[in-house]
Symmetry: C2
Subunit: 471 residues, 2 copies
């Protein structure tokens, strides 16, 4: 059956674009949540919408589940394969189809790498605003699935704010074209529903996104604090003062050390207990005025030193440290569990302290980096997946941190999605009625649960059917 | 049966909150689209979510359709009653339940009048950004149903960008609470799906909305042009120059005359062929710099005169003219058909000219006011509904203007919704497959089409069942 399926798919995408040898399947067995893995039956790499539709029709007829995959940089197991299922990779779908400078949008294939879109638009003074830390690798399609955030989403909003239209293929292989006309099309906001649905309604093949003007002036400030409290309190004060920086990022001591030991070394001072990275954008007068006000707040909160990037190079370096932080943690331990929780900004300081306390009790090494402006915490726990007891404690800590965040009015995911990782905790924030409402939506498009089954909505909540393995 | 239903509803909401006498039903027979009207069987005015749920359960059991109604200021017939159906008014649900200054949100009952929310938050320096021209009367619930816009939505985005959560009651009377936790709750974006769905999934009873800081400095500029072309071209230039005013509104000569003849007289000059109203917000330095750049563009495009509001009073007056424009048109003819179409901003000048030409050919009086920054045209056709031939020509013109807008890549509705008015034209922008996708969503929540039946999605597209009248 698997051979027959491979042959049918090869007839659509060509002989080289269906992978079935174990050695070639290996890289697809997990995503950024390395502790969970599963061997897919096949990986197929279609080239465009038409090929995706034909592939999904074949899978539908065979009753085989499909899991879409962009770059596999997701951190919640959203792209973990399903046993007996097929991974549909967008790796061959990397074309920027259109850049419209007048109406400021771009139409891209789902597999386009995030940073390449901004590079393509840069010549015209435009950019794609959402900038996940993985933007050098992650794809626009993956960003759509997870409604991804990034440092500058504090100002610009997460992915859903930037997606104008989609072309999507359903479980049955039907193409739904929600990409034209380009301005607000009226009717139901299906695009809004599909963004962030983690591939459970279907597979987005083309995405129309908003482009924003590159700001005239950008000022990047690194504020060095003796401890996390001063950095957290500064963030609260900055927001209360209605200053509107485009990014507010905090890194703690363990993260600073890891970054400075790595190729991403950004000149973060080793003596700091925490650094707050602030970016301000706008016209010259506005930026200058904001920086003066910011400086006063930082001083009041006991900043040790304030550094300002003198040019684009210095700015790039400060950001490379932040964006390379997850990679740099590789020096500390072989594996990294990146938790992702959101709390009201006013509870940030308290929740940071609680996560430190939880990890201390469970004897785990915690590093913390976070999108402070969004209240989006990333407690990063360093571990070794070969140590079973440690893995257990990591999961325990993740669960306790999430519960604590929910307790103070927060939620489970700021930007990484629910995936497999948070299936159990989702019941902390949604009642059975809420989950029922979601299942109704799911039933409307994928009643047999063939698209990324078992992700986002717990199986038992929805009475998700376990899809049969390929026989 | 109707008496029995009235008695059942009175048992829930109290004797005075069910209307059944013809004289009291009269105001509910149409919304702002006065040419369409229908007598409802009953009007019920519940006080809160629990009462709405009980009322909808009674209607569900009786097989009676329900049409939600806020202030009835909608312009597309979205709140037109259904023959034999019940109107559920939110007029008694006017409580602001919570204003949270730290996390900048408010939780309100659906019947809260738009402007009252900003007034409540003003003391704390916050505001609710979306400002429909009808904001003195229209309700937050109605804004949610239509994803309403307004002049300042050019900067801030339409209603959907500001809704953080909802409590909704389904056709069956089930309460879906999507209001907590308050930060991004993960899971499907059902809130996004429900906003703009014109009451066809259910009835929103409580809404949690984002509040934004009132800007430090606001500058309001009135640019007076000899004709519409100069005003339209200035808008294109302003956007191309990446200036970012918060509002860009154009009024044509007939509108100026009507406003100046009315109680909304704003001092718009009678000799003008068009005025462009521009508002710039921010910190002082930024605003001053923007106004200098704006001035240069206006001069290049042949502005006759530029006036700047000297204080809050003058600013209010300039805006009162714009927001009172629809009301002022009452002086020109007894009825006003307010069309609502969107075009890419780069096609604005051309589409204004085409709508003028269409109305001239059909011998209709056209006044034009528009949210120029959003490409959102409002060709206003003055008519008398007692003149059957004129009504026909008005509808013909509306249809031709919409088709022309769609032709150049535009769409059917910028902010008023589809309602009854544009049911036929919706097939210009959506394919049968697209409509099928929408019907799938509708089926998930309201398979029997009891919530606002026959609106938004054409009956035949979805095989909407005509609901039986009350026997």
């Amino acid at each position: 059956m698997s051979d027959r399926l491979a042959a049918d798919l090869r007839a659509i995408v060509g002989p080289d674009s269906v992978l079935d040898e174990p050695s070639r399947l290996l890289p697809y067995e997990s995503d950024g949540l390395a502790m969970l893995s599963e061997r897919p039956e096949l990986v197929v790499l279609p080239a465009d919408t038409a090929e995706v539709a034909r592939c999904l029709r074949v899978l539908h007829q065979a009753g085989v589940p499909a899991v879409a995959r962009g770059a596999g940089t997701g951190l919640a197991g959203g792209a973990t394969p399903v046993a007996g299922g097929v991974v549909v990779s967008t790796a061959r779908m990397r074309t920027v189809l259109e850049v419209n400078l007048e109406d400021r949008y771009a139409r891209v294939q789902a597999g386009v790498v995030n940073v390449n879109l901004s590079r393509t638009a840069a010549g015209a003074g435009l950019a794609y605003a959402p900038d996940p830390s993985s933007q050098m690798a992650c794809t626009i399609g993956g960003n759509v699935a997870n409604n991804s955030g990034g440092p500058h989403c504090f100002k610009y909003g997460a992915t859903t704010r930037h997606v104008l239209g989609l072309v999507m293929v359903t479980a049955e292989g039907q193409v739904i074209d929600l990409s034209a006309p380009r301005v607000d099309p009226g009717g139901y906001d299906l695009v809004g529903l599909f963004v962030g649905s983690e591939g459970t309604f279907g597979l987005a093949t083309e995405v129309t996104v908003k482009l924003v003007p590159v700001p005239a002036v950008v000022e990047t400030v690194l504020a060095i604090f003796p401890d996390l409290d001063g950095a957290c309190d500064s963030v609260s004060d900055i927001i209360a003062a209605r200053l509107e920086p485009s990014a507010l990022e905090i890194l703690d001591k363990l993260t600073i050390d890891a970054v400075e030991d790595s190729v991403f070394a950004a000149g973060y001072p080793r003596e700091a207990g925490a650094v707050l990275l602030i970016e301000v954008e706008g016209v010259l007068e506005e930026v200058s005025a904001s920086v003066i006000d910011l400086r006063a707040i930082l001083d009041r909160r006991g900043v040790l030193e304030v550094r300002t990037a003198r040019d684009a190079d210095e700015r790039r370096k400060l950001w490379a440290g932040r964006k390379g932080a997850f990679g740099a943690m590789g020096r500390v331990a072989p594996d990294l569990y990146v938790a992702d929780a959101v709390v009201p900004r006013t509870r940030l300081r308290e929740m940071v302290a609680r996560s430190v306390e939880i990890c201390r009790r469970l004897d785990l090494r915690l590093a913390t980096v976070f999108h402070a402006g969004d209240g989006n915490l990333h407690p990063n726990i360093c571990y070794d997946r070969r140590d079973e007891d440690e893995v257990k404690r990591v999961l325990q800590a993740g669960s306790e941190i999430l519960s604590a965040c929910v307790e103070v009015g927060g939620s489970l995911t700021g930007e990484h999605g629910v995936g497999l990782e948070k299936l159990e905790q989702i019941e902390l924030v949604f009642s059975p009625d809420d989950l029922d409402a979601m299942c109704r939506a799911r039933d409307a498009w994928d009643p047999e649960r063939r698209m990324n089954p078992g992700k986002l909505i717990p199986m038992r909540a929805c009475m998700e059917l376990r899809t049969p393995p390929i026989r």
